[in-house]
């Protein structure tokens, strides 16, 4: 019951924040979608960090370290520290400049102008929206699971659950947990727009950063009778080499995994956050501090994951010993079990709030960006006479589309498509394969319409081809690798590497094979 009360209190605070931010809402479309470019360095840092981190940063990283050891940090965290900031620096700053100068709120508006191609939205829109919806579904399903796990036993008279699965007794069912989270996010995005989202993200990012660190120290203190440092030394000494090295990690997969974080460059919700910045200098704090925040969140979680494999942890928390490294889904239980076993209900509730914060700080931006894209990229150019909307119409349509997107994705989540979790890495790979397009549009004036279309089609084609191959192969979708014969051996690489090569080649070949765009078009971006 304590955990449920903490979660309820947290959600209540969030709603208050979102509704309060509405008092500053000016009523204009620009204010609703971009907070009138008013976001300062600290809030931009928090928004960008909160949006790029999902539940995986807390629960997934601990579980992955418990499963495969410390390699996950290099594979996903330190690489993101380098590549995310690279994207903020190389792409974000310039896109902010053009967005501010020419009034863009979505990527498609930028591409339409940059390529002088009003129709490019018809190709890009379905690709971007379908990939964001996969991402959204994973978040909604994940939120339902977190609420279910952390409210176990809280309401035995209301939710009888399945007596054969004891944790489900008295727990808020997944469908209701997802519904509550969707409703909370919808309310603060609906009322607060981008300003409400940025405020909520700042609060939520602080929540999961602080609560994650507190959880780490409380657990470390509970792992033995000595001081925190003595306990950490004692338990680290028990971890076997399998978890303290990367002996089981393929070096070529490790290398090509570094291309996955390039997806940040093409996330439509990150693009929208970039445009909220007050000025370009606002980006500096995010560019510098982002890798440090990644370290603060991922480092402790990975240590907890490898400690959970030791005899000490399994003696103190017997439920850990019952987890099976080969059972799908067991790795996501490691952190909740550790917290419940070593820190009690109250911290369990705070950790649940922290995990929900990580999920919701991505969901809100995605809901807002899909609503904005429907309004600016579909309704405005194709369903108005002169391609213009009043402020009132913009806000009304964006809100309506946000509600529709929330309802549709929530209904899809009721089908319980667990396959979306396996699609995560494919979704990120798809965004990464479009990275050459956004990069070339900012740094290569010779890019043409043909090159852009060729790149999008090649990226989509390569994605479909490798996805089809993954469906035919044995094993989980997320673990599919391309095997390249090298003499007597085989080198394994992530499919994203091949997708990026193909889309880059198509972009260059298509651009060089077609006439350069007129100076009148290119000159706006390359004076």
């Amino acid at each position: 019951m304590t955990s449920a009360m903490v979660i309820a209190g947290y959600l209540g605070l969030l709603l208050t924040l979102g509704v309060t931010s509405n008092r500053l809402f000016s009523g204009s479309g620009k204010d609703f979608q971009l907070a009138t470019h008013s976001i300062g360095p600290f809030m931009l840092l928090m928004s960008l960090f909160g949006t790029t981190m999902t539940a995986f940063a807390l629960i997934g990283s601990t579980g992955e370290a418990w499963q495969n050891g410390i390699g996950v940090y290099g594979k996903m965290a330190s690489s993101s520290g380098i590549v995310h900031s690279l994207c903020f620096f190389l792409l974000g700053v310039k896109l902010w400049k053009f967005g501010h100068q020419y009034g863009y709120a979505t990527q498609i508006e930028f591409f339409r102008d940059r390529l002088d191609s009003p129709k490019i939205g018809l190709v890009l829109f379905p690709i971007l929206v379908s990939m964001v919806i996969v991402y959204l579904l994973a978040g909604i399903l994940g939120a339902g699971t977190v609420v279910n796990v952390f409210t176990s036993g809280a309401f035995p008279n209301i939710f009888t659950g399945d007596p054969a699965v004891p944790p489900s007794v008295g727990a808020i069912p997944n469908w209701l947990g997802s519904l509550i989270i969707c409703a909370v996010v919808l309310i603060y995005v609906f009322f607060g727009g981008m300003r409400g989202t940025a405020w909520a993200n700042t609060f939520q990012t602080l929540a999961f950063l602080i609560l994650g660190l507190i959880t780490f120290f409380v657990i470390a203190r509970s792992l033995g009778a000595g001081s925190v440092l003595e306990n950490m030394r004692e338990v680290s000494a028990q971890v076997q080499d399998r978890w303290t090295t990367r002996a089981g990690v393929s070096k070529s997969v490790f290398l090509t995994y570094m291309l996955i974080p390039l997806s940040v460059g093409m996330f439509p919700h990150i693009f929208q956050h970039w445009l909220t910045a007050k000025d370009a200098n606002t980006f500096k704090l995010s560019v510098i501090v982002h890798p440090i925040f990644i370290l603060l969140v991922w480092g402790p979680c990975i240590m907890l994951g490898i400690w959970a494999t030791t005899d000490t942890a399994q003696t103190l928390v017997p439920a850990l010993a019952r987890l099976n490294h080969n059972a799908p889904g067991d790795q996501n239980k490691v952190l909740p079990i550790l917290v419940k076993g070593l820190s009690g209900e109250l911290l369990g509730g705070f950790l649940a709030a922290g995990v929900l914060a990580a999920i919701m700080s991505s969901l809100d931006s995605q809901f807002l960006c899909v609503g904005t894209m429907f309004t600016n990229d579909i309704a405005k150019p194709y369903f108005t006479k002169d391609g213009k909307l009043t402020d009132q119409q913009t806000v009304f349509l964006t809100r309506t589309f946000i509600i529709l997107v929330v309802v549709v994705t929530y209904c899809l989540s009721l089908l319980d498509p667990k396959a979306v979790f396996g699609l995560g890495v494919w979704c990120f790979s798809g965004f990464s394969s479009l990275f050459p397009l956004i990069f070339a549009s900012l740094y290569w004036r010779r890019l043409t319409r043909l090159g852009a279309y060729a790149s999008i089609i090649a990226a989509g084609g390569a994605w479909c081809w490798y996805f089809w191959q993954a469906l035919q192969a044995d094993g989980p979708l997320s673990e599919y690798l391309i095997k390249i014969p090298m003499g007597t051996t085989e080198v394994e690489i992530m499919p994203v590497a091949a997708m990026i090569v193909v889309s880059t080649l198509a972009l260059v070949a298509g651009s060089l094979a077609s006439k350069p765009l007129p100076q009148q078009t290119v000159g706006k971006f390359f004076p």
Partner: protein, 75 residues
């Protein structure tokens, strides 16, 4: 992008970070730094700090916009 020797130096450091990320040398080393952190993890944690410092240098010496563009004066 304003190309200066300093900005070129920053981009060389960024490339060095990418190379250093593929650390062959600690791949199978199970030494615990301070008796707590596996050296492979400690190394990558340091790499995160090095990335932050590199991006600090980048914002100082390789900033892609002029001061007036950064303030949005062109709008």
């Amino acid at each position: 992008m304003h190309r200066t020797p300093a900005s070129l130096g920053v981009w060389l450091i960024v490339m060095l970070l990418v190379i250093l990320h593929q650390d062959d040398w600690f791949w199978e080393n199970s030494t615990l730094v301070f008796g707590i952190v596996p050296i492979g993890l400690f190394y990558h944690a340091c790499l995160s700090l090095a990335a932050a410092f590199t991006w600090f240098l980048a914002t100082r010496y390789a900033w892609p916009l002029s001061e007036s563009e950064s303030r949005g004066d062109a709008a």
